[in-house]
Structures are given as C-alpha cells and as structure tokens.
Symmetry: C2
Subunit: 246 residues, 2 copies
C-alpha cells in the first residue's frame, strides 16, 4: 500500500492555490501551550510550577508552558511539555480553554491553549529541577506571572466539575489505593467534607473498584484494604445521562 503526500502533487497544489493565498492573508500569532499539572500529596491538591524566566515576573510562579512548534498540534505540544518537564508520558491530559487577551503577555500578543493534567506524585521524581520546578499547594499560591493565577482558577473549577462526572481522581493516586486516599482526593479537590460511609457505599455500588486483597502496611491504625480502579468496567458502564440539573 502506497500513499502520496498529496500536497506535493501538481493537481492538488493548483486546487489549493486559492486556499493558500487566503491563509497567507491571515494575521499570524505566536501560540503557546500551558499545562496545569495537578498532583496530590499530604492530603493536599498540588500544582507543578516553575519560577518565571522573565525579568518582569522575577520570583513569580508560572505554569509549565512552551511555544507550539510549527509542525506540531496542540495536544502534541502539551504532551511534549509534560514529557520534558516530568519525564512522564501517557498521562491524563485534556484541553481546557484557550486564553487570548491581547495584553496577557508583556512581550506582545501571545495566545495560549491550556491543558490540565493529573498525575501520581509519587510515581515520579522530577529529574529536571530547572527554574525551581516544584509542587505547590493550590490553596497557598498567591501571585503568579502573566494571567496564570486566573488560568489556575479556571482549571481548578474545571477539575471540581470534571471529577464528579468522570473518574479522573484515580490518576492522582498510585495504582493501588485505599478508600480513604480516594476520599481525601475528592475532599481536597472539592474543598468539602464527605460522609465516609456514604462515600464508600457509593463507590462500592458502582462496581468500579477491584479488591486487590492487599492491605495498607506500616500504618499506625487499622490498615485499610487496597483497591485498583477497573478501567475496563468503566468503559463498559459509562452512563448515558439524561436529566436536568441546573
């Protein structure tokens, strides 16, 4: 089976000529992606941040971002940023919003598409410590460079909504986790206390947890059971929601 690059054939390029002229008439804008990388440890929701490179934002915190390369789509750029900064691949990553205020960057107009990612803190070691790459507790972040504080708030709200309708939270936990850990994740993200018995009942009834027959070890209290998340079962049982809930 052979395939051509159609853009190289004479026929195709004559058809495309008007399209190319049109596209060339458009203003061009520098594009970046920024990643809001959520993690969970010490019972706190954390975000992975660096110190800004720019003099103007000296010592201020900044999201992990980079320009979008000319042959790269946004998803790839976001995955690349994540890989370059954390060494991790195949992590949960979702586009959240594109921010475009004309004065959002002091160096001129830059539009940024923001991705949110969730990953297990402990699985990974942040080999790259450039720009003081560190986890920061979400509720202790005050000022940030650019419009990044605003972006962070948008992503936090996005996450609060998203974990209630999609099992994202499991990405923040190790493969095996206790129900207490799971509940802690929900409480940290939602900023609310949940009833332990009802929480456990809810997850038990969903049938998405696999009992590993293992227990917590070295805890200073009665050890809890460890579970795995049943991704296969989740794919089968995704709800088809029809209801009205403003």
């Amino acid at each position: 089976m052979f395939e051509y690059d159609k853009s190289l054939t004479g026929i195709q390029s004559s058809v495309n000529k008007d399209a190319m002229i049109l596209v060339n008439s458009y203003p061009k804008v520098p594009l970046t992606v920024d990643c809001v990388i959520f993690g969970f440890t010490d019972n706190l929701l954390k975000v992975l941040l660096i110190k800004s490179d720019l003099e103007q934002y000296k010592d201020q915190l900044s999201l992990l971002g980079d320009m979008v390369k000319s042959n790269e789509d946004l998803d790839s750029a976001a995955n690349r940023v994540l890989l370059e900064r954390t060494g991790m691949q195949n992590v949960y990553l979702e586009q959240v919003h594109t921010f475009s205020k004309v004065d959002r960057h002091p160096g001129g107009r830059v539009i940024t598409t923001v991705y949110a990612s969730l990953l297990d803190f402990k699985n990974q070691e942040l080999k790259i410590h450039e720009n003081e790459l560190k986890w920061h507790a979400l509720n202790q972040i005050s000022e940030m460079a650019f419009d990044h504080k605003h972006i962070l708030e948008v992503c936090h709200k996005w996450l609060q909504k998203r974990i209630q309708e999609h099992p994202l939270a499991f990405s923040l936990l190790p493969e095996k986790f206790s129900l207490r850990q799971l509940q802690n994740v929900y409480e940290a993200i939602l900023g609310a206390q949940l009833d332990r018995r009802n929480f456990r009942k809810k997850f038990a009834s969903m049938g998405l947890l696999i009992d590993t027959n293992e227990m917590e070890v070295h805890v200073t209290h009665r050890p809890g059971k460890l579970y795995k998340f049943d991704y296969a079962q989740y794919e089968l049982s995704k709800r088809n929601w029809v209801g009205i809930d403003f």
Copy 2:
C-alpha cells in the same frame, strides 16, 4: 484619574525587552474562529451554515468563521463573526474547543477556536445571504468542508451535556414560550423522548419560570400558557453541586 499605556513608557519597555525577544522567537500561526450557531424551528435543531468559498470544497457546507484580527481577542472575533453574519449582538456564545491538526486546512496550517452560540431563529432575519447562508437541520448534514463535520459533532455533544446543567435552551426560544416548545427543544437536542408530566413538574418545581398570564394564540388545539425564564432567580439559585456521577 489618568491611565497610561504602560507599553509606551521607557521604563516598562526596557523591562519588557527580554519578553519581546522571547515572543519574537516563537513560530507564528494563522488563527481563525468558527461559530457553531444553533437554532430551533420546525421542532428541529438547526445550524447556521454557508457554502465554502474554496474551490476544493465547492458546494460543501462550512461553519461561519473568519480570521482573528491582530488586535482582537478570540471572544471578540467570535462576536464579530456572529454580528457580521446575523446582525445579532449579545447572544449566548461560549468557547468550546480549539482544533489544531496540522493538516486541517488545505491552505496551510490554521488553528481554529470554535465557539457555540444559541439564538432564537424567529427573532432574526439573516439579512446577509452571501454564500447561501442558511439554517440546516443538524441530522441531515452529511459532508462538510475542512474538519467542520467533526467540529459540529463535538459541539452537538457539548450542547447535549450543557443544556442538562445550564439553562441554555431558553436562548433558542422567543422570550415567551410554552412548556411544549421548551420540551421540544430538549427532545430535539437530546434525541430522546421525555415524559410530558414529569418534564412540566420538573420545571415547575425549579421556580425558574414566570407565568406571563398569556396564552398561545391561533393554535388548533387548547392553547398553552406562555412563560418567561427568570434569569434573576436562576442567578440566585444556581446549584452548588457535590455528587459523584460517572
């Protein structure tokens, strides 16, 4: 009270110099916005579309879009497209997603941010008929130019989800509407039949409908009451949802 344009002051520009050099090093990309404009009539969910300008997509349907001007943010560009094409302002408009596959446009790389809008079909007359601007029933659209069919599907799913958690549907209806019209909107968008009594009970119990004390006229059956949507009450009573529903 006076304000400067800080970018014009000497102090500021020396601080910004490194930022500007950085931004200038980024690849630049042509950007567009595309609007998926939903309407509702004849009990069908419709979308406002034109015929593509491009030779390659001759006679194929295309979303309403335009380049993003160099001094314009995305929201403004989307509002401008809507205004230019429909003459309407201040309509519901929300950013949905940014599409960036490198080969999505035959004229070269173009990234597009897609907005969805909902508006009342009858309130407006589409004065501009360029490119055969017309409403098309969503379920009868087959082929489209570019990746617009895919975009449309993403926006339809977005809409299905969104109307169940936010009262968007009212934007598709005239100011005064009957419960039957409202139910028809939900049924058309969700592609599902809903129980009439339960639907009415649900909305009655929410307390978001104002009885106008007017009735339908010139209908060939018992006329229904006309209601208005109580936006003020909705703002007060927005739910603060904490629940888990995969």
